[in-house]
Amino acid sequence: MYKLNLSEINAFFAKIAQNEKLYIPADNGKGGARYTEWAEGVELSNACNTERSAKDFFFPQTENLVDFKVNGKKIEVIDSREECEDFVVFGVRACDVKSFEILDSVYLTDPIDSYYKNRREHGTVISLACSAPEETCFCRTFGIDATKPAGDARAYIAGDSLYIEALTEKGSALLSSLGIAETDDTAAVYAQIAETEKKLAELPLAALEAKDFTKKQLDAFNAPVWAGLSQTCLGCGSCTFVCPTCQCYDIKDFDTGHGIKRFRCWDSCMYSDFTMMAHGTPRNTQLEKFRQRFMHKLVYYPMNNDGVYGCVGCGRCLKKCPISMNIVKVMKSLGEVTE
Protein backbone atom coordinates (compact mmCIF):
# COMPACT_ATOMS: atom_id res chain seq x y z
CA MET A 1 0.00 0.00 0.00
CA TYR A 2 1.18 3.49 -0.82
CA LYS A 3 0.99 6.16 1.78
CA LEU A 4 1.36 9.89 1.68
CA ASN A 5 0.68 12.71 4.02
CA LEU A 6 -2.58 14.54 3.36
CA SER A 7 -0.65 17.79 3.20
CA GLU A 8 0.97 16.44 0.06
CA ILE A 9 -2.27 15.46 -1.61
CA ASN A 10 -2.26 18.34 -4.04
CA ALA A 11 1.27 17.48 -5.11
CA PHE A 12 0.01 13.94 -5.65
CA PHE A 13 -2.86 15.23 -7.79
CA ALA A 14 -0.49 17.48 -9.69
CA LYS A 15 1.67 14.53 -10.54
CA ILE A 16 -1.26 12.62 -12.01
CA ALA A 17 -2.50 15.69 -13.84
CA GLN A 18 0.87 16.09 -15.52
CA ASN A 19 0.14 13.21 -17.81
CA GLU A 20 -3.62 13.00 -18.06
CA LYS A 21 -6.73 14.80 -16.98
CA LEU A 22 -7.70 14.21 -13.37
CA TYR A 23 -11.16 14.68 -11.93
CA ILE A 24 -11.84 14.88 -8.21
CA PRO A 25 -14.93 15.71 -6.15
CA ALA A 26 -14.76 19.38 -5.20
CA ASP A 27 -17.20 21.60 -3.36
CA ASN A 28 -19.57 23.33 -5.76
CA GLY A 29 -20.18 26.33 -3.54
CA LYS A 30 -23.82 25.30 -3.17
CA GLY A 31 -23.31 22.94 -0.24
CA GLY A 32 -22.64 19.93 -2.46
CA ALA A 33 -19.80 18.41 -4.40
CA ARG A 34 -19.29 17.71 -8.06
CA TYR A 35 -16.51 16.16 -10.11
CA THR A 36 -14.19 18.90 -11.22
CA GLU A 37 -11.11 18.79 -13.35
CA TRP A 38 -8.17 19.16 -11.02
CA ALA A 39 -6.06 22.26 -11.39
CA GLU A 40 -4.05 24.26 -8.91
CA GLY A 41 -6.47 25.46 -6.24
CA VAL A 42 -9.11 22.75 -6.66
CA GLU A 43 -9.49 21.04 -3.29
CA LEU A 44 -10.84 17.58 -2.53
CA SER A 45 -14.31 17.83 -1.05
CA ASN A 46 -15.20 16.36 2.33
CA ALA A 47 -18.71 15.56 1.15
CA CYS A 48 -19.91 11.98 1.45
CA ASN A 49 -20.61 11.86 -2.26
CA THR A 50 -21.10 14.06 -5.32
CA GLU A 51 -24.54 15.35 -6.25
CA ARG A 52 -24.28 13.97 -9.73
CA SER A 53 -23.11 10.42 -10.13
CA ALA A 54 -19.84 9.39 -11.74
CA LYS A 55 -21.59 7.79 -14.70
CA ASP A 56 -21.13 11.03 -16.66
CA PHE A 57 -17.50 10.07 -17.28
CA PHE A 58 -18.41 7.05 -19.33
CA PHE A 59 -21.97 7.82 -20.31
CA PRO A 60 -22.29 11.59 -20.70
CA GLN A 61 -25.67 13.31 -20.81
CA THR A 62 -25.25 14.17 -24.47
CA GLU A 63 -22.76 13.03 -27.04
CA ASN A 64 -22.44 13.74 -30.71
CA LEU A 65 -22.59 10.36 -32.45
CA VAL A 66 -22.37 11.36 -36.06
CA ASP A 67 -22.90 14.30 -38.41
CA PHE A 68 -24.62 14.51 -41.74
CA LYS A 69 -23.66 17.17 -44.19
CA VAL A 70 -26.19 18.34 -46.72
CA ASN A 71 -24.44 19.58 -49.79
CA GLY A 72 -26.87 20.76 -52.40
CA LYS A 73 -28.95 17.66 -52.82
CA LYS A 74 -26.32 15.19 -51.55
CA ILE A 75 -25.97 13.90 -48.03
CA GLU A 76 -22.59 13.02 -46.60
CA VAL A 77 -22.09 11.06 -43.38
CA ILE A 78 -19.28 12.28 -41.14
CA ASP A 79 -17.88 10.38 -38.17
CA SER A 80 -17.66 13.17 -35.64
CA ARG A 81 -16.06 11.05 -32.94
CA GLU A 82 -12.95 12.42 -31.30
CA GLU A 83 -10.38 10.01 -29.92
CA CYS A 84 -10.79 9.90 -26.15
CA GLU A 85 -7.77 10.92 -24.08
CA ASP A 86 -6.63 9.07 -20.97
CA PHE A 87 -8.11 10.38 -17.75
CA VAL A 88 -8.23 9.55 -14.06
CA VAL A 89 -11.18 9.85 -11.73
CA PHE A 90 -10.27 10.05 -8.09
CA GLY A 91 -12.61 9.70 -5.14
CA VAL A 92 -15.34 7.48 -6.53
CA ARG A 93 -17.34 5.86 -3.73
CA ALA A 94 -18.10 2.17 -3.52
CA CYS A 95 -21.68 2.60 -4.74
CA ASP A 96 -20.66 4.50 -7.84
CA VAL A 97 -17.85 2.07 -8.61
CA LYS A 98 -20.42 -0.67 -8.45
CA SER A 99 -22.61 1.25 -10.84
CA PHE A 100 -19.90 1.00 -13.48
CA GLU A 101 -20.27 -2.78 -13.37
CA ILE A 102 -23.96 -2.39 -14.07
CA LEU A 103 -23.35 0.02 -16.93
CA ASP A 104 -20.69 -2.38 -18.26
CA SER A 105 -23.17 -5.21 -18.26
CA VAL A 106 -25.34 -3.15 -20.59
CA TYR A 107 -22.82 -1.43 -22.80
CA LEU A 108 -19.97 -3.88 -22.95
CA THR A 109 -21.95 -6.99 -23.75
CA ASP A 110 -22.75 -7.72 -27.32
CA PRO A 111 -23.50 -5.47 -29.19
CA ILE A 112 -20.70 -3.50 -27.62
CA ASP A 113 -21.20 0.24 -27.47
CA SER A 114 -17.97 1.56 -28.89
CA TYR A 115 -18.47 5.08 -27.56
CA TYR A 116 -18.81 3.78 -24.03
CA LYS A 117 -16.04 1.26 -24.43
CA ASN A 118 -13.67 3.91 -25.69
CA ARG A 119 -14.22 6.04 -22.59
CA ARG A 120 -14.02 3.09 -20.27
CA GLU A 121 -10.69 1.99 -21.70
CA HIS A 122 -9.18 5.41 -21.33
CA GLY A 123 -10.41 6.02 -17.81
CA THR A 124 -8.68 4.96 -14.59
CA VAL A 125 -10.85 4.85 -11.49
CA ILE A 126 -9.36 5.48 -8.06
CA SER A 127 -12.05 4.82 -5.51
CA LEU A 128 -12.20 6.25 -2.03
CA ALA A 129 -13.50 4.30 0.93
CA CYS A 130 -16.33 5.89 2.88
CA SER A 131 -15.73 7.10 6.39
CA ALA A 132 -18.82 9.19 7.03
CA PRO A 133 -21.86 7.59 5.36
CA GLU A 134 -25.07 9.61 5.33
CA GLU A 135 -28.57 8.81 6.50
CA THR A 136 -29.66 8.25 2.90
CA CYS A 137 -26.97 5.62 2.26
CA PHE A 138 -28.07 2.01 1.86
CA CYS A 139 -25.42 0.37 -0.31
CA ARG A 140 -25.17 -2.44 2.27
CA THR A 141 -28.65 -3.51 1.23
CA PHE A 142 -27.15 -4.58 -2.08
CA GLY A 143 -24.11 -6.19 -0.58
CA ILE A 144 -21.78 -3.34 -1.34
CA ASP A 145 -19.06 -2.71 1.19
CA ALA A 146 -18.51 1.01 1.42
CA THR A 147 -15.21 0.42 3.16
CA LYS A 148 -13.79 -1.71 0.37
CA PRO A 149 -14.66 -0.04 -2.90
CA ALA A 150 -13.52 -1.59 -6.15
CA GLY A 151 -11.90 0.28 -9.03
CA ASP A 152 -8.44 0.34 -10.56
CA ALA A 153 -7.07 1.53 -7.25
CA ARG A 154 -8.57 2.15 -3.85
CA ALA A 155 -7.78 4.94 -1.44
CA TYR A 156 -8.37 5.51 2.25
CA ILE A 157 -8.10 8.69 4.17
CA ALA A 158 -7.17 7.81 7.73
CA GLY A 159 -5.78 10.25 10.20
CA ASP A 160 -3.54 12.66 8.41
CA SER A 161 -2.61 10.23 5.66
CA LEU A 162 -3.86 9.02 2.35
CA TYR A 163 -3.41 5.29 1.82
CA ILE A 164 -3.78 3.90 -1.63
CA GLU A 165 -3.54 0.44 -3.13
CA ALA A 166 -3.74 -0.78 -6.69
CA LEU A 167 -6.43 -3.29 -7.59
CA THR A 168 -5.81 -3.73 -11.31
CA GLU A 169 -2.88 -3.59 -13.63
CA LYS A 170 -4.03 -0.21 -14.87
CA GLY A 171 -4.10 0.98 -11.31
CA SER A 172 -0.73 -0.34 -10.40
CA ALA A 173 0.81 1.07 -13.55
CA LEU A 174 -0.50 4.46 -12.63
CA LEU A 175 0.50 4.35 -8.99
CA SER A 176 3.97 3.01 -9.58
CA SER A 177 4.65 5.82 -11.99
CA LEU A 178 3.98 8.43 -9.35
CA GLY A 179 6.91 7.68 -7.07
CA ILE A 180 5.03 7.53 -3.79
CA ALA A 181 6.41 5.77 -0.76
CA GLU A 182 5.02 2.34 0.11
CA THR A 183 4.22 1.28 3.60
CA ASP A 184 3.25 -1.86 5.50
CA ASP A 185 1.80 0.00 8.40
CA THR A 186 -1.88 -0.19 7.53
CA ALA A 187 -3.23 -0.38 11.05
CA ALA A 188 -4.79 3.05 10.74
CA VAL A 189 -6.70 1.88 7.68
CA TYR A 190 -8.12 -1.14 9.43
CA ALA A 191 -9.00 0.89 12.47
CA GLN A 192 -10.92 3.23 10.27
CA ILE A 193 -12.65 0.44 8.39
CA ALA A 194 -13.85 -0.96 11.68
CA GLU A 195 -15.11 2.42 12.76
CA THR A 196 -16.92 2.99 9.47
CA GLU A 197 -18.50 -0.44 9.65
CA LYS A 198 -19.91 0.50 12.99
CA LYS A 199 -21.35 3.69 11.52
CA LEU A 200 -22.80 1.75 8.60
CA ALA A 201 -24.56 -0.62 10.95
CA GLU A 202 -26.17 2.28 12.73
CA LEU A 203 -27.52 4.02 9.63
CA PRO A 204 -31.29 4.51 9.60
CA LEU A 205 -31.59 2.35 6.50
CA ALA A 206 -29.13 -0.29 7.67
CA ALA A 207 -31.88 -2.79 8.22
CA LEU A 208 -33.35 -2.40 4.74
CA GLU A 209 -33.34 -5.77 3.07
CA ALA A 210 -33.35 -6.42 -0.64
CA LYS A 211 -35.93 -9.12 -1.07
CA ASP A 212 -35.87 -11.44 -3.96
CA PHE A 213 -38.83 -10.24 -5.96
CA THR A 214 -37.92 -12.26 -9.01
CA LYS A 215 -39.85 -15.29 -7.80
CA LYS A 216 -42.96 -13.22 -7.25
CA GLN A 217 -42.56 -11.17 -10.35
CA LEU A 218 -46.24 -11.09 -11.27
CA ASP A 219 -47.34 -10.36 -7.73
CA ALA A 220 -44.98 -7.46 -7.69
CA PHE A 221 -46.15 -6.27 -11.07
CA ASN A 222 -49.80 -6.43 -10.15
CA ALA A 223 -49.40 -5.11 -6.62
CA PRO A 224 -52.02 -2.46 -5.88
CA VAL A 225 -49.44 -0.35 -4.02
CA TRP A 226 -48.14 1.09 -7.27
CA ALA A 227 -51.20 3.30 -7.55
CA GLY A 228 -50.52 4.98 -4.25
CA LEU A 229 -46.78 5.19 -4.77
CA SER A 230 -46.97 6.72 -8.21
CA GLN A 231 -50.00 8.86 -7.44
CA THR A 232 -48.14 12.16 -7.08
CA CYS A 233 -45.14 11.38 -9.27
CA LEU A 234 -44.55 14.48 -11.40
CA GLY A 235 -42.97 12.55 -14.24
CA CYS A 236 -39.79 14.58 -14.14
CA GLY A 237 -36.44 12.98 -14.76
CA SER A 238 -34.53 13.99 -11.66
CA CYS A 239 -34.35 10.47 -10.17
CA THR A 240 -33.11 8.97 -13.41
CA PHE A 241 -30.61 11.72 -14.09
CA VAL A 242 -28.96 11.56 -10.66
CA CYS A 243 -29.07 7.76 -10.67
CA PRO A 244 -25.66 6.17 -11.31
CA THR A 245 -27.19 3.07 -12.89
CA CYS A 246 -29.92 4.51 -15.12
CA GLN A 247 -28.61 3.89 -18.59
CA CYS A 248 -31.47 4.60 -20.99
CA TYR A 249 -30.86 6.98 -23.82
CA ASP A 250 -32.61 8.56 -26.73
CA ILE A 251 -31.23 9.63 -30.07
CA LYS A 252 -32.09 13.06 -31.41
CA ASP A 253 -31.13 14.78 -34.62
CA PHE A 254 -30.45 18.48 -34.64
CA ASP A 255 -30.72 20.49 -37.83
CA THR A 256 -28.00 23.10 -37.73
CA GLY A 257 -29.20 24.75 -40.90
CA HIS A 258 -26.29 23.40 -42.92
CA GLY A 259 -26.23 19.84 -41.74
CA ILE A 260 -27.54 17.42 -39.17
CA LYS A 261 -25.93 16.53 -35.88
CA ARG A 262 -27.02 13.28 -34.33
CA PHE A 263 -26.90 13.26 -30.56
CA ARG A 264 -27.33 10.57 -27.98
CA CYS A 265 -28.83 11.91 -24.78
CA TRP A 266 -30.03 10.55 -21.48
CA ASP A 267 -33.64 9.53 -21.50
CA SER A 268 -35.89 8.96 -18.57
CA CYS A 269 -38.53 6.27 -18.27
CA MET A 270 -40.57 8.88 -16.41
CA TYR A 271 -40.92 11.03 -19.54
CA SER A 272 -44.03 11.07 -21.66
CA ASP A 273 -42.04 10.40 -24.83
CA PHE A 274 -40.00 7.50 -23.43
CA THR A 275 -39.95 4.58 -25.89
CA MET A 276 -42.24 6.57 -28.15
CA MET A 277 -42.99 4.63 -31.27
CA ALA A 278 -45.13 5.24 -34.29
CA HIS A 279 -48.19 3.87 -32.54
CA GLY A 280 -47.48 5.66 -29.27
CA THR A 281 -45.84 4.48 -26.11
CA PRO A 282 -46.44 1.11 -24.45
CA ARG A 283 -46.72 2.76 -21.03
CA ASN A 284 -49.28 5.51 -21.13
CA THR A 285 -49.94 6.25 -17.52
CA GLN A 286 -47.55 7.58 -14.94
CA LEU A 287 -48.27 4.42 -12.90
CA GLU A 288 -46.90 2.24 -15.66
CA LYS A 289 -43.86 4.44 -16.19
CA PHE A 290 -43.18 4.56 -12.46
CA ARG A 291 -43.61 0.83 -12.07
CA GLN A 292 -41.30 0.17 -14.97
CA ARG A 293 -38.45 2.07 -13.36
CA PHE A 294 -38.56 0.12 -10.12
CA MET A 295 -39.48 -3.22 -11.64
CA HIS A 296 -36.43 -2.80 -13.83
CA LYS A 297 -34.07 -2.07 -10.99
CA LEU A 298 -35.50 -4.59 -8.54
CA VAL A 299 -36.87 -7.40 -10.68
CA TYR A 300 -35.99 -7.46 -14.36
CA TYR A 301 -32.35 -6.55 -13.99
CA PRO A 302 -31.61 -9.11 -11.24
CA MET A 303 -33.47 -11.75 -13.27
CA ASN A 304 -31.12 -11.27 -16.18
CA ASN A 305 -27.95 -10.64 -14.21
CA ASP A 306 -27.64 -13.40 -11.67
CA GLY A 307 -29.48 -11.62 -8.97
CA VAL A 308 -27.48 -8.41 -9.09
CA TYR A 309 -29.80 -5.49 -8.38
CA GLY A 310 -29.99 -2.48 -10.62
CA CYS A 311 -29.60 -0.20 -7.65
CA VAL A 312 -26.42 0.56 -5.69
CA GLY A 313 -27.95 2.35 -2.74
CA CYS A 314 -26.18 5.67 -3.27
CA GLY A 315 -29.27 7.48 -1.94
CA ARG A 316 -29.21 10.32 -4.48
CA CYS A 317 -32.85 9.83 -5.47
CA LEU A 318 -33.80 10.04 -1.78
CA LYS A 319 -32.36 13.52 -1.71
CA LYS A 320 -33.41 14.81 -5.06
CA CYS A 321 -36.94 13.63 -5.75
CA PRO A 322 -39.22 16.70 -5.72
CA ILE A 323 -41.92 14.73 -3.95
CA SER A 324 -39.61 12.57 -1.86
CA MET A 325 -40.73 9.35 -3.43
CA ASN A 326 -37.89 6.90 -3.84
CA ILE A 327 -36.72 3.34 -4.24
CA VAL A 328 -36.53 2.73 -0.50
CA LYS A 329 -40.21 3.58 -0.05
CA VAL A 330 -41.00 1.36 -3.02
CA MET A 331 -38.96 -1.56 -1.65
CA LYS A 332 -40.66 -1.28 1.70
CA SER A 333 -44.16 -1.21 0.24
CA LEU A 334 -43.42 -3.91 -2.25
CA GLY A 335 -41.77 -6.02 0.43
CA GLU A 336 -44.93 -5.91 2.46
CA VAL A 337 -47.21 -6.99 -0.37
CA THR A 338 -45.01 -9.79 -1.68
CA GLU A 339 -44.47 -11.33 1.75
Partner: protein
Amino acid sequence: MQKVMIERAAELLSSGKVNRVLGWRAGLFAHDNTPSVFTDAADLQANFVYNEFCGANLSKYLVKESDKEGTVAVFLKPCDTYSFNQLIAEHKIKRDNVYAIGVQCNGMKDVNDREKLEERCASCKSRKHVAYDELIGESGEILDSNRFDMVEKLENMTSEERFEFWRGELSRCVRCNACRNVCPACTCEKCIFDNPDSGSANKAPADPFEENLFHIIRAFHVAGRCTDCGECSRVCPENIPLHLLNRKFIKDINELYGEYQAGETVNERGPLVNYTQGDAEPSVVYERGNS
Protein backbone atom coordinates in the same frame (compact mmCIF):
# COMPACT_ATOMS: atom_id res chain seq x y z
CA MET B 1 -51.92 21.48 13.96
CA GLN B 2 -51.29 18.05 12.50
CA LYS B 3 -53.67 16.47 14.97
CA VAL B 4 -56.46 18.93 14.21
CA MET B 5 -55.93 18.44 10.51
CA ILE B 6 -56.13 14.65 10.79
CA GLU B 7 -59.28 14.86 12.86
CA ARG B 8 -60.91 17.27 10.47
CA ALA B 9 -59.93 15.19 7.44
CA ALA B 10 -61.28 12.03 9.05
CA GLU B 11 -64.50 13.84 9.89
CA LEU B 12 -64.92 15.08 6.33
CA LEU B 13 -64.35 11.57 5.01
CA SER B 14 -66.71 9.88 7.42
CA SER B 15 -69.45 12.46 6.90
CA GLY B 16 -69.25 11.77 3.17
CA LYS B 17 -68.65 15.43 2.46
CA VAL B 18 -65.48 14.52 0.66
CA ASN B 19 -64.28 11.32 -0.97
CA ARG B 20 -60.56 11.89 -0.81
CA VAL B 21 -58.11 14.00 1.11
CA LEU B 22 -55.00 15.45 -0.48
CA GLY B 23 -52.25 15.95 2.06
CA TRP B 24 -48.73 14.93 2.94
CA ARG B 25 -47.59 11.41 3.83
CA ALA B 26 -44.77 10.89 6.31
CA GLY B 27 -41.59 9.48 4.86
CA LEU B 28 -38.56 7.60 6.08
CA PHE B 29 -37.21 10.61 7.91
CA ALA B 30 -38.80 13.79 9.20
CA HIS B 31 -37.98 15.75 6.08
CA ASP B 32 -39.10 13.58 3.17
CA ASN B 33 -42.86 13.92 3.17
CA THR B 34 -44.67 12.99 0.01
CA PRO B 35 -47.86 14.55 -1.35
CA SER B 36 -50.48 11.86 -1.16
CA VAL B 37 -54.18 11.11 -1.41
CA PHE B 38 -55.84 9.56 1.63
CA THR B 39 -59.12 7.74 1.59
CA ASP B 40 -59.47 6.22 5.04
CA ALA B 41 -59.15 7.38 8.59
CA ALA B 42 -56.70 4.71 9.69
CA ASP B 43 -54.29 5.68 6.96
CA LEU B 44 -54.66 9.32 7.98
CA GLN B 45 -53.97 8.53 11.63
CA ALA B 46 -50.91 6.49 10.81
CA ASN B 47 -49.31 8.42 7.98
CA PHE B 48 -50.66 11.95 7.59
CA VAL B 49 -48.07 14.54 8.46
CA TYR B 50 -47.86 18.32 8.62
CA ASN B 51 -44.55 19.69 9.73
CA GLU B 52 -42.00 22.17 8.43
CA PHE B 53 -41.08 19.87 5.56
CA CYS B 54 -44.38 19.99 3.72
CA GLY B 55 -43.17 22.33 1.00
CA ALA B 56 -44.93 20.61 -1.87
CA ASN B 57 -47.65 22.83 -3.35
CA LEU B 58 -50.71 20.59 -3.45
CA SER B 59 -52.75 22.79 -5.76
CA LYS B 60 -50.84 21.32 -8.69
CA TYR B 61 -52.32 17.90 -7.94
CA LEU B 62 -55.84 19.29 -7.96
CA VAL B 63 -55.62 19.55 -11.74
CA LYS B 64 -55.82 15.78 -11.82
CA GLU B 65 -57.74 15.17 -8.60
CA SER B 66 -60.56 17.65 -9.20
CA ASP B 67 -61.17 16.08 -12.58
CA LYS B 68 -62.09 12.78 -10.95
CA GLU B 69 -65.47 11.91 -9.58
CA GLY B 70 -66.42 13.04 -6.13
CA THR B 71 -65.01 15.75 -3.93
CA VAL B 72 -61.44 16.06 -2.80
CA ALA B 73 -60.40 17.92 0.32
CA VAL B 74 -57.06 19.64 0.10
CA PHE B 75 -54.80 21.37 2.58
CA LEU B 76 -53.41 24.61 1.23
CA LYS B 77 -50.71 26.77 2.70
CA PRO B 78 -51.08 30.50 2.05
CA CYS B 79 -48.80 30.52 -1.00
CA ASP B 80 -50.57 27.44 -2.37
CA THR B 81 -53.88 29.30 -2.32
CA TYR B 82 -52.54 31.76 -4.89
CA SER B 83 -51.74 28.90 -7.26
CA PHE B 84 -55.17 27.49 -6.48
CA ASN B 85 -56.90 30.70 -7.60
CA GLN B 86 -54.75 31.00 -10.67
CA LEU B 87 -55.53 27.44 -11.71
CA ILE B 88 -59.23 28.05 -11.24
CA ALA B 89 -58.96 31.16 -13.41
CA GLU B 90 -57.36 29.04 -16.11
CA HIS B 91 -60.08 26.39 -15.86
CA LYS B 92 -57.62 23.79 -14.67
CA ILE B 93 -59.31 23.06 -11.35
CA LYS B 94 -62.98 22.24 -11.05
CA ARG B 95 -63.76 24.31 -8.00
CA ASP B 96 -66.98 22.45 -7.23
CA ASN B 97 -65.08 19.23 -6.74
CA VAL B 98 -62.68 20.71 -4.22
CA TYR B 99 -63.04 21.40 -0.54
CA ALA B 100 -60.15 23.70 0.27
CA ILE B 101 -58.82 23.88 3.80
CA GLY B 102 -56.39 26.69 4.43
CA VAL B 103 -53.67 25.75 6.86
CA GLN B 104 -51.43 28.08 8.75
CA CYS B 105 -47.81 28.06 7.67
CA ASN B 106 -44.88 29.52 9.52
CA GLY B 107 -42.42 28.82 6.77
CA MET B 108 -40.91 25.59 5.52
CA LYS B 109 -37.41 24.41 6.31
CA ASP B 110 -34.73 23.88 3.71
CA VAL B 111 -34.15 20.15 3.21
CA ASN B 112 -30.49 20.78 2.42
CA ASP B 113 -29.91 22.89 5.52
CA ARG B 114 -32.56 21.85 7.99
CA GLU B 115 -31.91 24.63 10.47
CA LYS B 116 -32.72 27.31 7.92
CA LEU B 117 -35.99 28.39 6.36
CA GLU B 118 -36.28 27.85 2.64
CA GLU B 119 -35.33 30.97 0.68
CA ARG B 120 -38.90 31.44 -0.52
CA CYS B 121 -40.14 31.29 3.07
CA ALA B 122 -37.49 33.63 4.41
CA SER B 123 -38.72 36.15 1.84
CA CYS B 124 -42.38 35.13 2.14
CA LYS B 125 -44.71 37.45 0.26
CA SER B 126 -47.93 36.59 2.02
CA ARG B 127 -49.24 34.66 4.97
CA LYS B 128 -52.75 35.37 3.82
CA HIS B 129 -54.96 32.63 2.43
CA VAL B 130 -56.67 34.09 -0.63
CA ALA B 131 -59.05 31.17 -1.08
CA TYR B 132 -60.44 28.49 1.20
CA ASP B 133 -63.63 26.86 2.36
CA GLU B 134 -62.43 26.61 5.90
CA LEU B 135 -59.36 27.53 7.81
CA ILE B 136 -57.27 25.61 10.33
CA GLY B 137 -54.99 27.84 12.32
CA GLU B 138 -54.68 31.46 11.41
CA SER B 139 -54.51 33.33 8.15
CA GLY B 140 -51.94 36.10 8.22
CA GLU B 141 -51.34 39.23 6.24
CA ILE B 142 -49.72 40.11 2.96
CA LEU B 143 -46.15 40.78 3.95
CA ASP B 144 -43.71 43.46 3.02
CA SER B 145 -41.28 41.05 1.48
CA ASN B 146 -37.69 41.58 0.44
CA ARG B 147 -38.05 38.98 -2.27
CA PHE B 148 -36.75 41.25 -5.03
CA ASP B 149 -33.46 42.06 -3.29
CA MET B 150 -31.45 39.49 -5.18
CA VAL B 151 -33.05 40.45 -8.50
CA GLU B 152 -32.09 44.03 -7.79
CA LYS B 153 -28.57 43.00 -6.89
CA LEU B 154 -28.29 41.24 -10.24
CA GLU B 155 -29.75 44.22 -12.06
CA ASN B 156 -27.05 46.36 -10.55
CA MET B 157 -24.28 44.15 -11.83
CA THR B 158 -22.66 44.79 -15.16
CA SER B 159 -23.88 42.87 -18.16
CA GLU B 160 -20.73 40.73 -18.10
CA GLU B 161 -21.20 39.90 -14.41
CA ARG B 162 -24.78 38.93 -14.98
CA PHE B 163 -23.79 36.78 -17.91
CA GLU B 164 -21.16 35.00 -15.83
CA PHE B 165 -23.60 34.56 -12.95
CA TRP B 166 -26.23 32.95 -15.11
CA ARG B 167 -23.77 30.83 -17.05
CA GLY B 168 -22.55 29.51 -13.71
CA GLU B 169 -26.07 28.70 -12.63
CA LEU B 170 -27.70 27.50 -15.83
CA SER B 171 -24.73 25.42 -16.95
CA ARG B 172 -25.57 22.99 -14.16
CA CYS B 173 -29.04 22.35 -15.58
CA VAL B 174 -29.60 18.69 -16.41
CA ARG B 175 -32.93 19.31 -18.12
CA CYS B 176 -34.66 16.88 -15.79
CA ASN B 177 -37.77 19.08 -16.19
CA ALA B 178 -38.54 18.93 -12.47
CA CYS B 179 -38.96 22.72 -12.37
CA ARG B 180 -41.48 22.54 -15.17
CA ASN B 181 -43.36 19.51 -13.99
CA VAL B 182 -43.80 20.78 -10.46
CA CYS B 183 -44.91 24.24 -11.58
CA PRO B 184 -48.62 24.91 -11.03
CA ALA B 185 -48.57 27.29 -14.00
CA CYS B 186 -47.11 24.60 -16.28
CA THR B 187 -50.22 22.58 -16.96
CA CYS B 188 -50.20 22.38 -20.72
CA GLU B 189 -51.54 19.22 -22.26
CA LYS B 190 -48.20 18.90 -23.96
CA CYS B 191 -45.28 21.19 -23.32
CA ILE B 192 -43.67 22.71 -26.40
CA PHE B 193 -40.38 21.27 -25.18
CA ASP B 194 -41.87 17.76 -25.36
CA ASN B 195 -43.54 18.30 -28.68
CA PRO B 196 -41.26 17.48 -31.60
CA ASP B 197 -43.67 19.38 -33.82
CA SER B 198 -43.23 22.67 -32.00
CA GLY B 199 -39.81 23.39 -33.41
CA SER B 200 -38.53 24.17 -29.92
CA ALA B 201 -38.26 20.67 -28.52
CA ASN B 202 -34.81 19.31 -28.02
CA LYS B 203 -34.16 16.53 -25.61
CA ALA B 204 -30.42 16.64 -26.11
CA PRO B 205 -29.26 19.82 -24.39
CA ALA B 206 -25.94 19.67 -26.16
CA ASP B 207 -25.29 23.40 -26.20
CA PRO B 208 -25.55 26.14 -23.56
CA PHE B 209 -28.03 27.82 -25.88
CA GLU B 210 -30.53 25.07 -25.05
CA GLU B 211 -30.29 25.92 -21.36
CA ASN B 212 -30.93 29.60 -22.07
CA LEU B 213 -33.78 28.86 -24.45
CA PHE B 214 -35.47 26.47 -22.08
CA HIS B 215 -35.24 28.68 -19.04
CA ILE B 216 -36.15 31.93 -20.79
CA ILE B 217 -39.17 30.38 -22.47
CA ARG B 218 -40.20 28.50 -19.35
CA ALA B 219 -40.18 31.72 -17.36
CA PHE B 220 -41.82 33.66 -20.18
CA HIS B 221 -44.64 31.18 -20.54
CA VAL B 222 -45.56 31.58 -16.90
CA ALA B 223 -44.93 35.33 -16.79
CA GLY B 224 -47.99 37.11 -15.53
CA ARG B 225 -49.37 33.80 -14.28
CA CYS B 226 -46.56 32.79 -11.93
CA THR B 227 -47.61 33.31 -8.34
CA ASP B 228 -44.02 33.07 -7.11
CA CYS B 229 -44.71 29.91 -5.11
CA GLY B 230 -41.06 28.97 -5.45
CA GLU B 231 -41.55 25.30 -6.21
CA CYS B 232 -39.19 25.45 -9.21
CA SER B 233 -36.22 26.38 -7.07
CA ARG B 234 -37.16 23.95 -4.33
CA VAL B 235 -37.14 20.93 -6.60
CA CYS B 236 -34.12 21.75 -8.75
CA PRO B 237 -31.66 18.92 -8.15
CA GLU B 238 -28.84 21.28 -9.04
CA ASN B 239 -30.12 24.06 -6.76
CA ILE B 240 -30.37 26.59 -9.56
CA PRO B 241 -32.18 29.71 -8.26
CA LEU B 242 -34.86 29.55 -10.94
CA HIS B 243 -37.18 31.78 -8.97
CA LEU B 244 -34.85 34.66 -9.82
CA LEU B 245 -36.00 34.39 -13.43
CA ASN B 246 -39.66 34.39 -12.50
CA ARG B 247 -39.18 37.18 -10.02
CA LYS B 248 -37.48 39.31 -12.65
CA PHE B 249 -40.64 39.13 -14.73
CA ILE B 250 -42.78 39.84 -11.68
CA LYS B 251 -40.62 42.79 -10.71
CA ASP B 252 -40.71 44.21 -14.24
CA ILE B 253 -44.46 43.75 -14.43
CA ASN B 254 -44.93 45.48 -11.09
CA GLU B 255 -42.72 48.36 -12.06
CA LEU B 256 -43.96 48.85 -15.60
CA TYR B 257 -47.61 47.88 -15.50
CA GLY B 258 -48.56 48.33 -11.87
CA GLU B 259 -48.47 45.97 -8.92
CA TYR B 260 -49.86 42.60 -9.87
CA GLN B 261 -50.04 39.40 -7.88
CA ALA B 262 -51.17 36.43 -9.90
CA GLY B 263 -53.74 34.32 -8.12
CA GLU B 264 -54.77 37.01 -5.67
CA THR B 265 -58.24 36.78 -7.17
CA VAL B 266 -59.84 34.52 -9.71
CA ASN B 267 -60.70 35.84 -13.18
CA GLU B 268 -58.30 38.70 -13.29
CA ARG B 269 -56.87 39.59 -16.65
CA GLY B 270 -53.17 38.91 -16.38
CA PRO B 271 -50.65 41.56 -17.36
CA LEU B 272 -49.58 39.77 -20.54
CA VAL B 273 -53.10 39.51 -21.85
CA ASN B 274 -53.73 43.14 -21.06
CA TYR B 275 -52.38 46.54 -21.99
CA THR B 276 -52.87 50.24 -21.58
CA GLN B 277 -52.29 52.77 -24.29
CA GLY B 278 -49.71 54.49 -22.17
CA ASP B 279 -47.56 51.44 -21.45
CA ALA B 280 -43.82 51.88 -21.25
CA GLU B 281 -42.00 51.60 -24.55
CA PRO B 282 -39.56 48.69 -24.93
CA SER B 283 -36.75 51.24 -24.98
CA VAL B 284 -37.22 51.48 -21.21
CA VAL B 285 -34.95 48.43 -21.07
CA TYR B 286 -32.05 50.46 -22.43
CA GLU B 287 -32.67 53.45 -20.30
CA ARG B 288 -32.39 51.91 -16.89
CA GLY B 289 -30.03 49.95 -14.73
CA ASN B 290 -26.53 48.88 -15.50
CA SER B 291 -25.41 47.92 -18.96
